[in-house]
């Protein structure tokens, strides 16, 4: 198979590297609809060859941002630089950007082949070249056998392959994916996620995807931008976003989390203690924070970072006793909802490593929860 190779950036040439870092540069981008601010002065950069996810609930502005990249919406102000060139003034048909639409928007009156060829024909490519390129693209997504079919004769997964081939056929500088897995059922979804990433990475295409599904973003993207009400709250790799959320919203939006509101009691260089009404004893955090005594903070700890045991743990700090109120059994792990004496409910994941391990705990058992000094995150906003 003929692969599209991107010119490799030389590690020594600094301007080249900076260019690759800022392959897509979004500066102060804003979009208002009749006074409603959909995208609120957003600035960030996307690296060359990166899969970048915009993650947020519906109405957070992620789709508007994507549509501005595609050219379907004109920004109220701000700049979008693609490979150093400002594209804000360009019409969608002039931009070297292609999009895989949500539910694909395949042309129903054209065959698979004609769909993939559409963009190439618009560019005035010769017949033989078009045919060769279409063959190559259909081979890439393993759809060569169904080239003569119409879209309605294809399954959801097959339609998605065609849509991907169509959006990649013109070798765009930037590929946009709008809710790429939205129309697929769960089993197919996880399979296609990996396949899509493999294809995109093989071609080295820079890619921006929009999704409301955090699992999808975490599986597919190299970096994720978490969005809420038109603003980007955090940008980071999937593990950064998960393990080091920078605000309450991100912590709560990604995965599940136990949050304890409280105040800083002792603010030392190498540790902090937090007094929270949810727990009887102060929380001991094994690192310093930028804050002050009495500062209002929230302590966030993921359910899987908590230990659950029948016996009281040996450690001095960071433990609490409670009663199991509910159990959600997932097979691979169980989630225990533990009610503390203060009335706060805490979630705790327990991996069922041994068979029948879930039988150790049952409803109304009194249990101890404990966690290590560095398991949680102190959120200041």
């Amino acid at each position: 198979m003929n692969q599209v190779t991107q010119p490799a950036a030389s590690p020594h040439a600094k301007p080249e590297k900076a260019k690759a870092e800022n392959y897509v540069r979004i500066e102060g981008l804003r979009k208002e609809f009749d006074g409603f601010v959909a995208v609120d002065d957003v600035s960030f950069s996307i690296r060359k060859g990166e899969i970048f996810a915009l993650l947020g609930a519906s109405g957070c502005g992620k789709s508007t941002l994507l549509r501005m990249l595609a050219g379907f919406e004109r920004p109220t102000r701000g700049a979008i630089l693609l490979d150093g060139e400002d594209i804000v003034g360009m019409a969608p048909y002039e931009r070297p950007i292609n999009m895989m639409f949500q539910s694909y928007a395949l042309f129903p009156h054209m065959t698979v082949e004609q769909n993939v060829a559409f963009g190439l024909v618009q560019d005035g490519m010769g017949k033989a070249d078009v045919a060769a390129r279409v063959d190559e693209m259909l081979g890439l997504v393993q759809m060569s056998k169904l080239a003569k079919r119409k879209p309605h004769q294809l399954s959801g997964g097959q339609q998605q392959r065609v849509a991907l081939a169509r959006s990649l056929a013109k070798s765009p500088k930037l590929l946009l994916l709008d809710e790429p897995m939205g129309a697929l059922d769960k089993k197919l979804r996880s399979q296609m996620q990996i396949e899509l990433v493999n294809i995109v990475e093989r071609l080295g295409v820079t890619c921006v995807m929009v999704t409301h599904d955090q699992e999808e973003a975490m599986t597919m993207a190299h970096r994720i931008a978490v969005m809420d009400s038109g603003k980007i709250l955090q940008i980071g790799t999937p593990d950064e976003i998960y393990e080091q959320p920078n605000c309450r919203f991100t912590a709560e939006f990604i995965g599940s989390v136990n949050l304890f509101d409280g105040k800083v009691e002792e603010d030392e260089k190498d540790y902090v203690t937090i007094r929270t009404p949810g727990l009887g004893a102060p929380i001991y955090v094994g690192h310093g924070i930028t804050g002050f005594d009495g500062m209002k903070v929230a302590f966030a700890i993921r359910p899987e970072k908590l230990n659950i045991s029948k016996e009281e743990p040996a450690q001095k700090y960071n433990k609490a006793q409670g009663v199991i109120e509910e159990i959600a059994y997932f097979g691979s792990h169980s989630v225990y909802h533990v009610r503390l004496p203060t009335g706060v409910k805490v979630l705790c994941n327990f991996v069922n490593m041994k068979r029948w391990a879930s039988e150790n705990f049952t409803w109304n058992d009194t249990v101890w929860l404990s966690w290590a000094d560095n398991s949680g995150v102190v959120l200041t906003s």
Partner: protein, 305 residues
């Protein structure tokens, strides 16, 4: 609930037929039987009697004898008047269908792209004129088109012409009348088709490098094919047999088969020839009717998937 319903269905095997029977009986009584009668008359001979034709079926000595007379059909071929009238009718129908499409497509497109609230007002404006009698509306066109009518008075008032334009009693007047009267039949099916068009397809076309005009030609136009066919047939089929408009707006030289039919039937009282004329017209119209039917069937099929 549903089980008792299926039980009921089993007990009454005829209930489904009963529902279908009503429209079929209607068609039989008001379409098939009259058509059969006209067909029968077309094979008889004109006679000065009541009714004014000879019977085709005769009871002679207790046995049935058929008196089939194909002369009427031969007469249609022999006399160039009829052939010319058919050709002229088809020409007028085709040209006015094309004009309706030319005017109706942009209108339907504009309505389909309107805001849903203004869309209904625009649709009402298309439909509303047909709430008045067809005859009165065509009659009103005489007032507009005649020599001292509204149009000529206006043109002379603006100084564009110093003499009235002779539009009335010309083919132009017939075209104006037909396009005016049948435009809604073009706009409505086109609108129904265009309003369903998924606008993301146009975005996708634009995204892939198609300028708006190219996207229209490659996406909108081919996808509205069913609407174009439906609208064209809804205009063309009735226009071929149109009588009122050429009679009121056309001149004596405007040959249309509907007028010939009228003359044969009422002026010449030649029912057999009139019947033959109408049967031939029906045969000619079968082709466009079949095209219309197939387009409709395909549209229904595509909806099923």
């Amino acid at each position: 609930m549903s089980r008792s319903l299926t039980k009921l269905k089993k007990r009454l095997p005829g209930s489904r037929w009963l529902v279908i029977a009503v429209p079929y009986i209607w068609l039989l009584v008001f379409f098939a039987i009259p058509l059969a009668i006209a067909f029968k008359i077309s094979f008889s001979q004109a006679a000065i009697s009541m009714p004014p034709y000879t019977p085709v079926f005769n009871w002679v000595d207790g046995s049935l004898s058929l008196d089939i007379n194909p002369k009427n059909y031969l007469y249609l071929v022999k006399d160039s008047l009829y052939v010319n009238a058919y050709l002229s009718s088809i020409k007028i129908a085709v040209v006015s269908t094309f004009l309706c499409l030319l005017i109706g497509y942009p209108m339907a497109y504009a309505i389909a792209r309107m805001d849903p609230s203004t869309r209904n007002i625009a649709l009402m404006m298309v439909i509303l004129p047909s709430w008045t009698s067809f005859l009165i509306r065509i009659y009103a066109w005489i007032g507009i088109l005649k020599n001292n009518g509204l149009l000529n008075n206006f043109l002379m008032w603006t100084g564009l012409t110093d003499q009235p334009l002779a539009i009335m009693h010309t083919p132009l007047a017939v075209y104006i009348g037909i396009v005016y009267a049948y435009l809604p039949f073009m706009i409505l099916p086109l609108y129904a088709n265009l309003v369903k068009l998924d606008l993301r397809l146009l975005e996708a076309a634009s995204d892939l490098g198609a300028r708006p005009w190219k996207a229209f030609l490659k996406i909108t136009l081919p996808m509205s094919k069913a609407g174009i066919i439906a609208g064209s047939m809804l205009v063309m089929i009735p226009v071929v047999g149109e009588f009122v408009i050429p009679e009121m707006l056309g001149g004596p030289d405007t040959l249309m088969i509907g007028r010939i039919l009228w003359q044969e039937f009422f002026n010449n009282r030649d029912w057999p020839v009139a019947s033959a004329v109408s049967i031939v017209m029906l045969v000619i119209l079968i082709v466009p009717i079949m095209i219309f039917h197939r387009a409709q069937a395909r549209e229904m099929e595509s909806k099923l998937v």
